[in-house]
Symmetry: none
Subunit: 186 residues, 4 copies
DNA sequence: TCGTAAGCGAGACGGTACGTCCCGTCTTGAA
DNA sequence: TTCAAGACGGGACGTACCGTCTCGCTTACGA
């Protein structure tokens, strides 16, 4: 896809994500990555200008945060699937610490924030297919604001899991989807 | 609330928040706070175990993140007001970096995360009054899930402002509130 | 005499000079000094801006290169004594490597060169006493150029020992002194 | 003299000596020579085991340090000429840093030291002609110690120029030669 | 009122990580 | 097959903060 990567880029990315998940962004150090991946620190700086650049690339290269787009035949089914995926991403031991760390770091590190933004943009692009099918089926009006739809869904999951730290609840996807589709007013 | 604070705690808190706003969490250093507040580094460590603890306390002490609860007479009005406040909090130069920094730190420092959680819980408690009035006016069903309501609103704002970094848009509050009240389905 | 020195300056200076004698200027590293002296590298940089500054100070502080000024009663005796001292300084296992390293380094490091210069100036000042006594005894004309005298003596020793690497010869002092006092012409 | 030299050895030697004169031994780097001479670093290491070996060879190849042997008809004239040459060699912008660098390197690198020693030996060999003529003219006794003669002259110049860093003085050659020929005693 | 203890300024220190420079070796691909 | 290009492991550099520590001064309170 794009040009050069160091020979042992796999070990490097693995090391970066593992350390990130283990100790958070704070304890993710270039020297740690070097040691863990068996590569010299100098080599890391040869390829990436900073820890963040390396991490961003590692996130893209690993398919860790990829979400499969559902096609259940109904909008409700697709959305519940997506919400479930989001909850899983935010809670599974393999992914939760990575996401938490990236988004924690994004606050301070513009580079990380950029990566996060690109991630969301890409995801939204793929989510639009779900919306398009729903519009074709007449489940959503043709002028529906797809971004708002996913922001409501994703934002709620986000707040509940990461900020409120609510315990997992199997009903959450259904309730959130229902609220977004039909509203909460009397 | 709890006991001791050093003599010049005001200067210290000011210094901390100012530096935070100026340079982000990254450039908020204990030595910087010490220098800026005319207090010795040792003194800071005497009173707070870490930078984050100091910062957490500074946030509580300053009323920077306080939000006034609206009472416009209609649910829609109250909610739009709250969404507007949230957007402002997340974008105003004085508060945005502070929030970003807190959430950055929260990922790594349980103490800060606790502060953040408490902040959300407290806010929700005060927001319930808005919901109660709406229920009394028949604008919301009595069994409405108030937390979900505010999570949808807040989460969408959150995602759009912090993760997607959308440019400010005066229509956002109205559109988000309408979507949450009436749903997006056809 | 002059102000601050770190607590363990003795160990530091010892470490510096030992490493210098052992491995030459090349292998004299700040990290090596730190390790050897049980002091942290940061501490060294707190007190001296560079390796050279530290080394210069170490040379002054240790009295390694001090030479006792003779007073044998005759000029010839005094000078032979001084030449012998110089030869010894340039050949003794404890001092030769240090001098070699300093003067090797002086070529590239102005700071070291400055220290060397100061050393020679100081030495010359003390050597003048020998000349003054000789003048008083009538062994030297009152307008004798003391610096030239010692430069001839010292320079010859220098060239023979360090540049020509001649093997030690017990007659050298006498021959050099005689040549300088009476000349070589027919 | 000895076998192989890389194709662009001229550029390489030029680059080495230029960089040496420009920035001193310190800033003479293999990578710098490679870049400057348009040759790859690997090539340099193929032909010379070290920076110093390369430098030594470059010095021999360039005739930079050659000194023409005078024949003025008098010993005093010849010697003053030689002393003047030495002073010039040690102070001229083109040669001074080279000499300083060689002697810096000589302390640590036997190869360079060998070059230096050979240089002095060769020089002395050619200087003997001056002495022989003077003996023939009766200006020096037949058993004069030629090496000592030149060591006194050269050493004094050495000390004054390199160690004491005395400012240039047109009288120096005459005074030094007179002292060496006739002595300093009353 | 006076001593004793807490608060504080001052700053040396060990320590971790940073990002950089250059060294000398090793690998690879094209001529 | 040779040799350019250059990636790599490695060592040291000098810097920024961290959090700990010891030392005295001063301020205030309680006996």
């Amino acid at each position: 896809m794009d040009a050069g990567l160091p020979r042992r880029s796999d070990q490097i990315f693995d090391a970066a994500l593992t350390l990130l998940a283990e100790g958070g962004y704070q304890r993710l150090t270039v020297e740690g990555i070097a040691e863990r991946s068996g590569v010299h620190k100098t080599t890391l700086y040869r390829w990436w200008p900073s820890k963040d650049a390396l991490l961003g690339r590692a996130l893209v290269e690993s398919r860790l945060l990829d979400v499969e787009m559902p096609d259940t035949g109904t909008l409700r089914g697709d959305l519940e699937h997506l919400v479930g995926s989001a909850v899983r991403l935010l809670t599974a031991p393999a992914t939760a610490p990575v996401i938490a760390a990236v988004l924690a770091g994004a606050g301070e590190h513009p580079a990380l924030a950029g990566h996060a933004r690109a991630f969301f943009a890409d995801r939204l692009g793929r989510e639009r297919a779900v919306v398009d099918r729903a519009v074709a089926r007449g489940e959503l009006p043709p002028d529906v604001d797809a971004m708002l739809l996913f922001d409501l869904l994703g934002g709620a999951v986000w707040v509940r899991v990461l900020l409120r730290r609510l315990p997992p609840d199997p009903d959450t996807p259904a309730r959130v989807v229902r609220a977004v589709l039909h509203g909460l007013s009397a």
